[in-house]
């Protein structure tokens, strides 16, 4: 094997959007790792200027077709804090419910369509379906239930139309939600089975000392609300985000790299949420996680597939609880009157914290906007993982090493169109 080589993955498959990886190896040492995102920039933060505050949920949803609900949630919360409004009661519960739908849909897509084929040795779920037909059909059914929640509440699964600043345009009746109950009971069982199934996969022995960052709420597993915390001492309100995190523009990527000031890279997403909030999971999710071999903290990114399956279970369980307790509110939304000021919103997208900040004038027109998506925040951590992951695998052929690197990246379910901003793999051995 050549001691110096370059490994390139020119087009990373089974990630959302476009990216590439460039790795340089000199004398069997990894000298350079660059995760390049070549998703064409779309300039959302620029054209949001001059738009009305009520337009932000629909416009920012278009940043990502996989997690539009996350964009809608972070933007409505930001606008509501700018205007001094709190949305509570059944409306708040319905927001959690639509988020459950998106988590189920997005996580199941990742676990079964993007990640399981790697572990089982197939190029895609469709190829996998030829041998594991029942597994794929069950996964598609589970994903469909997630989509149905989003459709009942949002009108459609991609870019839902029913979310507005202050609540919803129309809220469901109890009978609108009832058909979901039986389906969710089936889904909860299917999710338990899938946690068990993915828990049995073989994971490389690879743990890192990460700084996990996620929301934490006193008595809920986080979706929409909480303080931003980490396992290394961070504990701040959402409005303090800009004091603690910075974005950098690197020449090889159209996604900005986000770091913790004076600290460096950090880790957001299901594994961070899980490791910081294990005690807030429903008892059934905690128990199933333990049975699948997960402790209350998970530092092996390859096990993120199990964590996502656990969160799918959590979302099914939470959705059932919300529907069972649901009493329709008097009005589908609370009135929001614009006022000049700054609003901050941070919610837990399927891939991790999604931060929005808007400055409004007194007519509710957006003066400026800042959006920090999860994948941008994980880029440096992904690069760091690869720096530690590759040295033990240098004896592999370029082709095998490439596939391994791709998997180390897919652990993060990188959503490249969100990061505007992703995958080709290029390993250079010199």
């Amino acid at each position: 094997m050549n001691k110096n080589r370059t490994i390139k993955v020119d087009y990373l498959a089974r990630v959302e959007g476009e990216g590439a990886l460039h790795v340089r190896i000199k004398n069997n040492k990894v000298t350079e790792v660059k995760l390049k995102i070549f998703e064409p920039p779309r300039f959302f933060e620029a054209f949001l200027r001059g738009r009305h505050f009520t337009e932000a949920p629909d416009i920012t949803a278009r940043i990502c077709g996989i997690c539009p609900v996350a964009y809608q949630m972070s933007s409505v919360h930001a606008m509501e804090t700018a205007c001094g409004v709190t949305v509570d009661g059944p409306l708040r519960a319905l927001r959690r419910l639509i988020y459950c739908g998106e988590w189920i849909e997005s996580h199941v897509l990742h676990v079964f369509a993007h990640r399981a084929p790697d572990f089982l040795g197939y190029p895609s779920a469709l190829e996998m379906a030829k041998k594991h037909g029942d597994l794929v059909r069950q996964a598609l059914q589970l994903k469909k239930v997630g989509n149905e929640i989003v459709t009942v509440l949002g009108g459609r699964e991609i870019h839902p139309i029913n979310v507005r600043v202050g609540g919803f345009y129309k809220v469901p009746s109890k009978s609108d939600l009832r058909p979901l109950v039986e389906k969710l009971k089936w889904s909860r069982d299917a999710a338990i089975e899938s946690v068990r199934a993915v828990g049995k996969l073989e994971f490389p022995d690879f743990e890192q000392d990460y700084e996990f960052v996620a929301l934490r709420h006193p008595n809920e597993y986080p979706f929409n609300e909480g303080r931003l915390v980490s396992n290394k001492g961070l504990d701040i309100a959402v409005r303090e985000f800009d004091d603690h995190f910075v974005e950098e523009h690197v020449p090889y990527s159209s996604a900005l790299h986000s770091t913790r000031k004076a600290r460096g890279n950090y880790f957001v997403g299901p594994q961070a949420r899980y490791s910081l909030n294990f005690s807030k999971l429903a008892p059934v999710a905690q128990q199933t996680a333990r049975e699948a071999g997960l402790g209350p903290v998970c530092r092996n990114p390859f096990q993120s597939i199990v964590v996502r399956a656990v969160e799918t279970l959590q979302a099914c369980d939470e959705a059932l609880r919300i529907i069972e307790q649901y009493e329709p509110p008097d009005a589908p939304s609370v009135q929001v009157h614009p006022q000049a000021g700054v609003g901050y919103g941070c919610t837990e997208a399927p891939r991790g914290i999604l931060y929005h900040r808007y400055r409004l004038d007194d007519r509710g027109m957006i003066i400026n906007a800042k959006i920090v998506p999860p994948t941008a925040q994980n880029q440096k951590t992904i690069e760091n993982d690869l720096r530690h992951f590759i040295p033990d695998r240098l004896s592999l052929s370029d082709e095998k090493l490439k596939w391994q690197c791709e998997q180390a990246i897919r652990n993060y379910d990188p959503c490249i169109s969100c990061s505007a901003h992703f995958l080709k793999l290029d390993i250079q051995r010199e």
């Binding site: 089974r14 920039p41 779309r42 278009r62 895609s124 009108g155 589908p332």
Partner: protein
Amino acid sequence: MAVKHKPKLAVWKFASCDGCQLSLLDCEEELLAVAGAVDIANFPEATRAVVRGPYDLSLVEGSITTPRDAERIHQVRRASKYLVTIGACATAGGIQALRNFKEVKEFISIVYATPGYIEALNKSTPISDQVFVDFELQGCPINKYQLLEVISAYLNRRKPNTPPYSVCLECKRRATVCVMVAHGTPCLGPVTQAGCGAICPSYNRGCYGCFGPKETPNTAALAKRCARIGMSDPDLVRAFRTYNSYSEPFRRESIAHEQK
């Protein structure tokens, strides 16, 4: 009848949110049937296996916004026998075409600290501005049943049945009371192409035009009506400047109100 070979399907992505190609994965009930009828030859969001072209049916998502993509679309066209654009980005330039009304340099400097690193064209343009397109499927996002209709029509060598009439007909068909007439809620339904199933009015909000212009839309008449129920010229500019802002009828109407 014995089928000689399964047609090769390819999915291509340009500037977009991935939502329209996700619609294919969202066909949970029908996905395995589609996978059985075609050979999925290139679909990076779903598979790492790539089959070499040429491709019988190419689905193209996203708009052209970079010099590199302006070249890549020609390669895609050369490798494709039948090319279908899916969604508002590929068909009309998408939300990112809002830059077409401004100075792109200014946009880059708002978002990026080092504008020199960013390569972007001045305009975000639809695929048909660059190459010949066999069929355009509108919507932000597209409707998955319309996508299945396009694939099914292609397999059966017939024309896709995607009606060019307005959202109003879909409202009537599902017996939704007109939100504009009954509640004075501004609605782009009369000038917007059907296909979504008239979702917004059934949720008590006006259509916001995500499916783009219908055939022969009378945008000026609608704008007048919306002005009478309280929309100002800047409101109208913004209403026509969303996901299909660079489609000719919506572009013309928004410019008319900007100049007032």
